[in-house]
Amino acid sequence: MDVLAQLIESGIALGMIYALIAFGYQLTFATSNTLNFGQGEALMLGALVGLTLVGHMSYWLMLPLVLVFGAFQGVVVERIGVRPTLKTKSEFGWIMTTISLAIIFKNVAENIWGHDDLTFPSPLPQEPLVFFGVRVLPMEIMIVLGALAIMLAVEIFNRKSIYGKAVVATANDRDAAGLMGINTGLVITFSYALSSMTAAFAGVLIAPLTLTGATMGAVLGLKAFSVAIIGGLNSGMGVIVGGLILGIAETTTGYYISTGYKDVPGLLLLLLVLTIKPAGMFGKSVIKKV
C-alpha cells in the first residue's frame, strides 16, 4: 500500500507536466486548428537553455528569461512553420513543417549541448518531505504548484482582460472575431508564443528531476498529445484529469511490469481513446454541417 501511494505521488508530479504540455497543444489548436508537432522540442530547448543560464545565475532569475526564450521560439515556429501553411486548407502542410522544425531543433540542440544527458541543479533541497509515509520531493511540489499557477494565470488572462477575451473569441469563431477588429493573425502568433512558453516552463520544472538532454522532448510530446486527446482538445479541465491518469498509469506500469514498457500505457491509451471516442473523453464532437 505504501508503495502504491508512493507511485501515485510521483505519478501526480509527472502527470502535471503532461498536463502542462497538453495545455500548450490546446492553446494553439483552439485559435488556429493547428498544433505544434515539436511541442516536446520546445520543452527540451527550454530545459537546455535554462541549464546554460543556471550556470551563471540563480534558478529564480533564470525562470523569466526561459519564459521569454520560449515565447520567442513559439513565434519562430508560427512564422516559419504555421502561418504560410494556413492559407492552404490542407493540414498536410503544417504537420510536415512543424515536424521538420522539431527535428531541426533537436539536431541543433545535439550539436550545441552534445548527445549525452546532463544533470540540472535543483533549486530546492533534495531531501524528501514525508507525509503519511509517502516521500515527496520539494521539487515535485513546485512542479504541481508551478503548473497550476501558469494554467491559472492564462485562465485569468482569458477571463479578465479584453485581449484575453479576444483570444477566446478567435477560438470560438475566427471569422466573427475578425469582424470585431481583432487581428486574428496576431492572436494565433500569440497563442503559439504562449504555448511554447508553457512548454519551456515545463522543461525547467521537470529538468531537475530527470536527465536533461536533446532527446528528452520527443516522447514527452507524444504522450502529452495523448493527454490532450483524452482531455479533449477544447476542454481546459480535461487535461489535468488526463495528465494525472497517464502519470499514475505510467509510474505503476514502470514498477509492476517493467521500465522498458513504461511508455506503452500512454500510447495505448491514445489509440484506445481515438478508436472509441475520437473527440476525446471530455471533448465535444463537432457536428458536420452538410
Partner: protein, 646 residues
C-alpha cells in the same frame, strides 16, 4: 498505358537490369538494392500519403514488422526464403489492419499521431520482446541457397528488381482502377464518398492494408539484403526519411517514389563527403541568388519574399566551410529539405517537371484518363440493386426527433413518401429541411424515431449502406470530387457496379474489362442526360456552379436509386436551366424513381410536386397538394413572409 509509356518502361527495366554489369562494385550494388527496396515501400506509402492524403508516421514500424517476420521465421524456425517473404507481406498487412482501427474515425493531425504512437509501440515491443526478436542484439540471417548456389549480392539485385517491377505493376493497376478512384474520393469529400456507397471506413482500412503489405514485402527483402537487423533501424528518423522521399519525389506518381528512394539513399553519402557537400551548397546558393535577382528585377516577387530563401541558402553554403563533419547535421538537412519541399515543391520533383512539360507540351500530359466511350439514351436507366417491394409508401419516417445539444432541429416529424411521386419539402431557412435530409441519408443518427424504407428499417444505418439500399442524394453545398473530371465523378457513383475482385483488377481479366466498359458507357449516357457530355473531361471544380449541380444529379442517378433526394437543385440556375431541370425531374419520375425535393424556387415546387410538406422550426406545419399548401395561412405567414412586418 500508351505505346510510348510501354516502350519507355521496357527500356527502363532493361537499363536497370544491366546496371550490375556496369557498376559491379559490391558497395554500389548494395546501394542499388536498398534503393529498390525503399522504392517498393514508398510505392505503398504513396497510397496513404498521396491518394488518401494522410501523413503516416508509422511506416518505418511496418517496415520493421516485415523485416522481423522474415528474420524470426528464417532464423529461428528455418523457414525458407520463398515462404518468409509472403509471410512478411501477410503479417504486416494484418498489422496494417490493426493500425487502421484507431485511424478509422480520425484524420489529419490525429491520424498522424495515431501512426506515430503505433510506430513507437512497435519499436518498444521489438526491443523488449527479446524471447522472440532477440531484442537489441538483433537477428542475423544469410541469403538463401538454391540448387547449391549461394545467392550473391548481384543475384539478389535481380530478385529485388523483379519484386520492384511486380510492385510497380500491381500498384499501377490498382491505382488506375476504380479502387484508386475510391481512395481519391474519400480524400476529396468523405461525406459524398459515403453517400455514393464508397464507405470511407472500408476503403481507409483497404488503403492501410495494401500499404502495409507492400511495406512488409520491402521489409522482408531488406532482412536478406542486410543479413543483420536490429530494432533501432526502424526509428522515427527512418519514418521521416520515407515521408521526405515520397513528398520530394512526387506524390501520386510511380516515378516519384523511385526518385525519392534514390535521393534518400544517396543523401548520406553526399553528406559524409564534406567537399561534395560544400560544392553542392555553394551551387544551390548561387542558383538561388541568380534566380532571386531575375525574379526581383522582373517584378515577379518582392525582395521581402525572397529574403528568407536567400538567407537560408547562403547560410547553408557558409556553414559548410565552418563545419568539418556534416553527418552530425544530417537531421537538420532533412528538416530543411522538408520545409523546402512543402513550400516550394509541393508536388515534388516529378510534379514540378510535369508542370513544366504541361506548359511547353500540354498534349503529352494526361492528368486524367481520357474516356472515349459514348453514351446513349438506353444506358441512362438501370435496375436498382434492391427492387422496390413496397406498395404504398416507399419511405416512412415516424416521430423523428433530432437534437443537437440544446437545439431541437427536428421535433416529432412524420413523413410518408408515396412510391413514384415527387414529394416536396419546403420551409424557411433553419426549418430543418436539410437536417431531415441528413437524417434520411444516415449522416445524422436521429435522437429518436424510426425510418422505414422499402419495408426495411434503416434508422441509424451508415450512409454507405443506405446508399446501397437505393437512396441517393445531392447536396446543398456542392460536394463534388473537385479534382476529378465530370465523368470520373459519375464513375464514383457507379462504384457499386464494379463487382470484380482485386485479382481481377491486377490481371485485367475479361470480367474487369467488361465491367469497366459498361460503367463508362453508362457514365457517358448519364452525362448526356443532364447535358454535360461536352464537359466530361473537365475537372469538376472548374465547372460553372449551375453545371456542378447537374453533375451531382448525374452522379446520384449512377447509384440506380429507387429514391432520389435533391437538395435545392435549382439554386444558382438561370430560368431556361430551371425549365430543363423540371423536365429532367419529370423524366426521372417517369422511370419509376421516387423523388424528395427540397427547394426554395416556388415555381419548381409547384409545377412538379405531387405532395408538399412544409416545415417550420423543426415541425410539420402543413401538408398537401401544392395548391392546398400555397393557400394555407400558416404557410404564407411562416414562409412566404406576408405579414411579418407588423
Amino acid at each position: 498505358m500508351s505505346l510510348f509509356k510501354n516502350i519507355a518502361a521496357i527500356v527502363a527495366i532493361a537499363v536497370a537490369a544491366s546496371l550490375p554489369t556496369m557498376w559491379s562494385n559490391p558497395y554500389y550494388i548494395h546501394l542499388m538494392v536498398v534503393i529498390g527496396i525503399y522504392a517498393i515501400l514508398l510505392l505503398g506509402l504513396d497510397i496513404v500519403v498521396g491518394y488518401v492524403g494522410e501523413v503516416s508516421l508509422g511506416h518505418a514500424a511496418l517496415f520493421g514488422i516485415g523485416s522481423y517476420t522474415a528474420g524470426v521465421l528464417g532464423h529461428s524456425l528455418g523457414v525458407p526464403f520463398l515462404l518468409t517473404i509472403p509471410a512478411s507481406i501477410v503479417v504486416t498487412a494484418i498489422f496494417g489492419a490493426i493500425l487502421a482501427l484507431p485511424a478509422l474515425r480520425v484524420n489529419g493531425p490525429y491520424l498522424a499521431m495515431v501512426t506515430l504512437a503505433f510506430g513507437t509501440i512497435i519499436q518498444i515491443l521489438i526491443n523488449e520482446m527479446d524471447f522472440l526478436t532477440n531484442g537489441p542484439l538483433g537477428i542475423t540471417i544469410r541469403k538463401p541457397i538454391y540448387f547449391g548456389h549461394h545467392i550473391s549480392s548481384a543475384d539478389y539485385y535481380y530478385i529485388v528488381l523483379a519484386a520492384l517491377v511486380m510492385t510497380l505493376f500491381v500498384v499501377q493497376r490498382i491505382l488506375k482502377s476504380h479502387l484508386g478512384r475510391a481512395f481519391e474520393a474519400l480524400h476529396d469529400s468523405p461525406i459524398a464518398s459515403d453517400c455514393m456507397g464508397v464507405s470511407v471506413y472500408g476503403y481507409k482500412v483497404y488503403a492501410f492494408v495494401l500499404s502495409a503489405g507492400i511495406a512488409g514485402l520491402a521489409g522482408g527483402l531488406f532482412t536478406y539484403s542486410e543479413e543483420y537487423i536490429s530494432p533501432n533501424t526502424y526509428n522515427f528518423e527512418l519514418t521521416i526519411l520515407f515521408l521526405l522521399a515520397v513528398i520530394m519525389g512526387g506524390r501520386k506518381t510511380r516515378t516519384g517514389p523511385i526518385l525519392g528512394a534514390i535521393i534518400i539513399v544517396m543523401l548520406p553519402n553526399v553528406l559524409s563527403d564534406i567537399d561534395l557537400f560544400r560544392k553542392i551548397a555553394v551551387g544551390i546558393a548561387a542558383v538561388t541568388v541568380a534566380y532571386s535577382i531575375y525574379v526581383i528585377a522582373t517584378k515577379q516577387r518582392s525582395f521581402k519574399q525572397m529574403a528568407l530563401p536567400l538567407l537560408a541558402t547562403i547560410a547553408l553554403a557558409v556553414s559548410g566551410f565552418y563545419i568539418q563533419d556534416i553527418t552530425g547535421q544530417r537531421l537538420t538537412i532533412f528538416g530543411l529539405m522538408i520545409l523546402f519541399v512543402v513550400y516550394y515543391l509541393p508536388n515534388g520533383i516529378m510534379g514540378f517537371l510535369r508542370g513544366i512539360l504541361l506548359r511547353i507540351r500540354p498534349q503529352w500530359i494526361h492528368r486524367h484518363e481520357v474516356i472515349l466511350e459514348h453514351g446513349d439514351k438506353q444506358h441512362v436507366w438501370s435496375v436498382p440493386d434492391h427492387p422496390v417491394t413496397a406498395r404504398g409508401n416507399l419511405l416512412e419516417a415516424r416521430n423523428i426527433v433530432m437534437q443537437f445539444g440544446g437545439l431541437k432541429a427536428l421535433n416529432e416529424v412524420n413523413l410518408e413518401v408515396k412510391k413514384g411521386t415527387v414529394h416536396g419539402l419546403i420551409g424557411p431557412n433553419g426549418s430543418g429541411k436539410s437536417t431531415m435530409m441528413n437524417v434520411l441519408t444516415g449522416i445524422y443518427k436521429p435522437t429518436s424515431g424510426e425510418i422505414e424504407f422499402n419495408g426495411k428499417h434503416i434508422t441509424g444505418a451508415t450512409p454507405s449502406s443506405i446508399a446501397g439500399e437505393g437512396i441517393a442524394r445531392t447536396f446543398q453545398n456542392v460536394q463534388l470530387f473537385g479534382e476529378m473530371t465530370a465523368i470520373e465523378n459519375v464513375l464514383v457513383g457507379l462504384h457499386h457496379t464494379y463487382r470484380h475482385s482485386l485479382l481481377d483488377v491486377v490481371f485485367h481479366t475479361p470480367r474487369c474489362r467488361r465491367e469497366k466498359l459498361a460503367a463508362r458507357v453508362r457514365a457517358a449516357s448519364l452525362l448526356q442526360f443532364v447535358g454535360l457530355v461536352d464537359l466530361a473531361s473537365e475537372e469538376a471544380r472548374n465547372l460553372p456552379y449551375g453545371k456542378q449541380r447537374l453533375l451531382e444529379i448525374a452522379r446520384a442517378l449512377a447509384l440506380n436509386p429507387s429514391l432520389l433526394l435533391l437538395d435545392e437543385p435549382a439554386a444558382g440556375l438561370t430560368a431556361p436551366d430551371i425549365k430543363e431541370l423540371i423536365g429532367m425531374i419529370n423524366k426521372i419520375r417517369g422511370h419509376g424513381i421516387t423523388v424528395i425535393l427540397i427547394e426554395h424556387h416556388m415555381d419548381v415546387v409547384m409545377s412538379i410536386c405531387d405532395t408538399v410538406t412544409v416545415l417550420d422550426f423543426g415541425q410539420k406545419i402543413a401538408e398537401g397538394t401544392p395548391a392546398q399548401v400555397q393557400s394555407d395561412d400558416k404557410v404564407i405567414e411562416a414562409y412566404l413572409g406576408g405579414t411579418a412586418a407588423a
